[in-house]
């Protein structure tokens, strides 16, 4: 009895003590934050950067390729002497395809590792989860994937396309081909629904008819009915914002229903070289995609990038748009830091405007006001060899316009 009593008292004391210690730590970091924001660890001869990608779970397939591209850029920069005389030390964290985990790991990279910047995230859901973490700690995230726009965080640089650099050019292309009616098919989450809202506004202003709009839950593989509806609607084209495996089932059904790319093309915004490989050219040949970069994009910078990537990761590995945007983001960060002459976040941000990089997709320029980059829109056609070749491009890099302020029809969307 007595021993029991004592044990309980010691336990209580320990818990209290632990609680006090924890509380102490909490208030200390709190002070740090409000005073100076996240500090960058510059002791030693390296500078740390964070890599935050899903290395496990459903998104791993895509996100691992992005991390590989970032590592390639880090390797190149280190081989050329590093940034401001310091070698880059990448610190990888696994977001595990789970959004709260992303937020947790972002906090860890910023506070424990004191990284100068973080490169990563793929889904809009993961970006939305880490956004407050970066804003609160005043630390930088470079986000490499095309997304639905209508966002502009002061602590995120967006190196993928916003809507006016991908979806709007895709619609312009359809219009120029004389397609006057579209059918919208997408996965049921934030990106396709927002994208379709924009597409409907565009259609209304441009004399296009939207004949129908259908969503399938992520991972759904039963497209018999949706394809029947598309067929019955007799649309001129289909705008496809499906993500992941659903594309495989959708295109198999599409082909066997007798719908052909020559008469009813599908424009996809989430199918890049890697996805073409897993869906199969039997079903995808001659269908259209909208991106800013393809493995076949001409230019010396791209030849070098493709050769370096294949040498490092294998000759059968294709390069794709999000990978290129991730690769570019590291080089852009380096250029910003060198222009600023400092790793300090606020100085890097201030130096960002007008920074350029001779990217595989062509010369890209950072727009300081929106923290997006100028990108050339490219419509591509899937070939029998699984590669995508360009059939149209916007001629010059398009100024990023995440809120579509330059388009009168888009008022009321944001």
């Amino acid at each position: 009895m007595l021993a029991d009593h004592w044990r309980r008292r010691t336990l209580l004391a320990t818990v209290l003590a632990a609680g006090l210690v924890l509380a102490g730590c909490g208030s200390k970091t709190g002070q740090n934050e409000s005073a100076v924001g996240a500090s960058v660890d510059l002791t030693g001869d390296t500078v740390k950067v964070g890599l935050l990608n899903s290395l496990s779970g459903t998104m791993a397939i895509s996100e691992v390729t992005v991390r590989d591209a970032v590592l390639l850029a880090v390797e190149e920069i280190n081989a050329a002497g590093g940034v401001l005389g310091k070698k880059i030390e990448p610190i990888g964290e696994d977001g595990a395809s789970d959004w709260p985990t992303f937020a947790e790991k972002a906090e860890k990279l910023i506070k424990e590792n004191a990284v100068a910047a973080v490169f990563g995230c793929w889904t809009s859901a993961s970006r939305k989860a880490v956004k407050p973490v970066f804003e609160e700690n005043k630390s930088l995230l470079f986000y490499p994937v095309q997304y639905e726009g209508l966002e502009q965080s002061p602590y995120i640089f967006y190196t993928g396309a916003t809507t006016n650099q991908q979806i709007v050019p895709g619609l312009d292309y359809l219009k120029s081909q004389g397609k006057s009616s579209v059918y919208l098919v997408g996965s049921d989450y934030v990106f396709p629904r927002t994208a379709n809202k924009i597409i409907k506004a565009y259609a209304q202003a441009n004399g296009m008819t939207v004949l129908g709009e259908d969503y399938a839950p992520l991972g759904s593989t039963e497209f018999g009915t949706i394809v029947n509806k598309v067929k019955a609607a007799k649309a001129d084209a289909v705008f496809n914002t499906l993500n992941g495996d659903s594309n495989v089932a959708f295109f198999k059904e599409y082909k066997s229903a007798g719908l052909a790319p020559a008469s009813t093309p599908v424009v996809s915004v989430s199918i890049a070289e890697e996805e073409v490989k897993s869906i199969g050219t039997q079903y995808l040949a001659d269908q259209l995609t909208a991106w800013n970069y393809y493995q076949t994009t001409p230019g010396a910078a791209n030849q070098k990038f493709v050769a370096a990537y294949k040498a490092k990761y294998g000759a059968d590995k294709p390069t794709s748009d999000p990978m290129e945007a991730a690769y570019v983001s590291v080089h852009l960060w380096k250029a910003m830091v060198e222009k600023a002459g400092s790793f300090e976040v606020e100085k890097v941000k201030a130096a960002a405007d007008g920074v350029t990089f001779d990217a595989p997709e062509g010369l890209v320029t950072v727009d300081g006001a929106t923290q997006h980059i100028h990108k050339t829109a490219r419509i591509g056609k899937v070939g029998q060899d699984g590669l995508i070749t360009e059939v149209w491009n916007s001629g010059a890099p398009l100024k990023p316009d995440p809120y579509l302020k330059g388009y009168p029809w888009a008022t009321g969307l944001s």
Binding site: T221, D245, V248, S256
Partner: protein, 295 residues
Amino acid sequence: MTVLVSQLFTGVSIGAVLLLIALGLSLTFGQMGVINMAHGEFIMAGAYTVYVLQGAVSGAGVSLLVALPVAFLVAGALGAALEYLLIRRLYARPLDTLLVTWGVSLILQQLARDIFGAPNVQTRAPDWLTGNVPVFGDLTLSTNRLFILALAVLAVAGLTLVLRLTPLGRRIRAVVQNRDLAAVSGIPTGRVDRLTFFIGSGLAGVAGVALTLLGPIGPTMGTNLIIDAFLVVVVGGIGTLKGGVIVAFALGTLQSLVEYTTTLSVAKVVVFVAIVGFLQWRPQGLFTLRTRSLA
């Protein structure tokens, strides 16, 4: 009119898919009462068989037809091994069986990832299965769905014949209806169990071959199917094939007709609500097997 007919056809073909994935389960779960969570992974094994054979046998059409019997054997062998090594020891413990087979399903998924890689793989369908047959006007029936429908009909007919006419079928039915009496009559119930499991799992493999014509082949494809398969068996009535067949086609048609006027998500909800409502009214399922056993 055209739309209605093509939607009915879509519904029937969804039903055929449901039937194929549930048919094996109606043997192992329906007849033997084993809750096998790895059933979906046997379907996956069948699908990967097509992928492997396509590398070995030239000609997409030939490899698909060869894959049907091979996938039956591969998935059947996996099932028989599972029965012999694990399930046999757990017959009186349904909850443990559920957990063990779930573990096995995770192991098989990881195995597929290690062997074939995490990304989905693709197979090439023969050209005669990527087109369609014009019926009248705008109405066309896609050949891959006709093929799956034919396959489902053949599988049901084959299974019915085996159960009705062969000595093995008679023994399976005897064991289902009264295990103890069958045992004292000299039927080796252990061996009958293994054979039943072999056939049930083999049918999952055949379903896997059919699914390569419709969707992706990946390590997790089985998990998406297992719930549908259990639903069909439970609503159809445990221990009967007839119930499963009717329910599969009814659910498929209901889903496609509701989906046409609403959306896929709403259709799924309507189907689930219909199932819950039906089971409130008939908890034993559409048909019930009357046995003389006391259990």
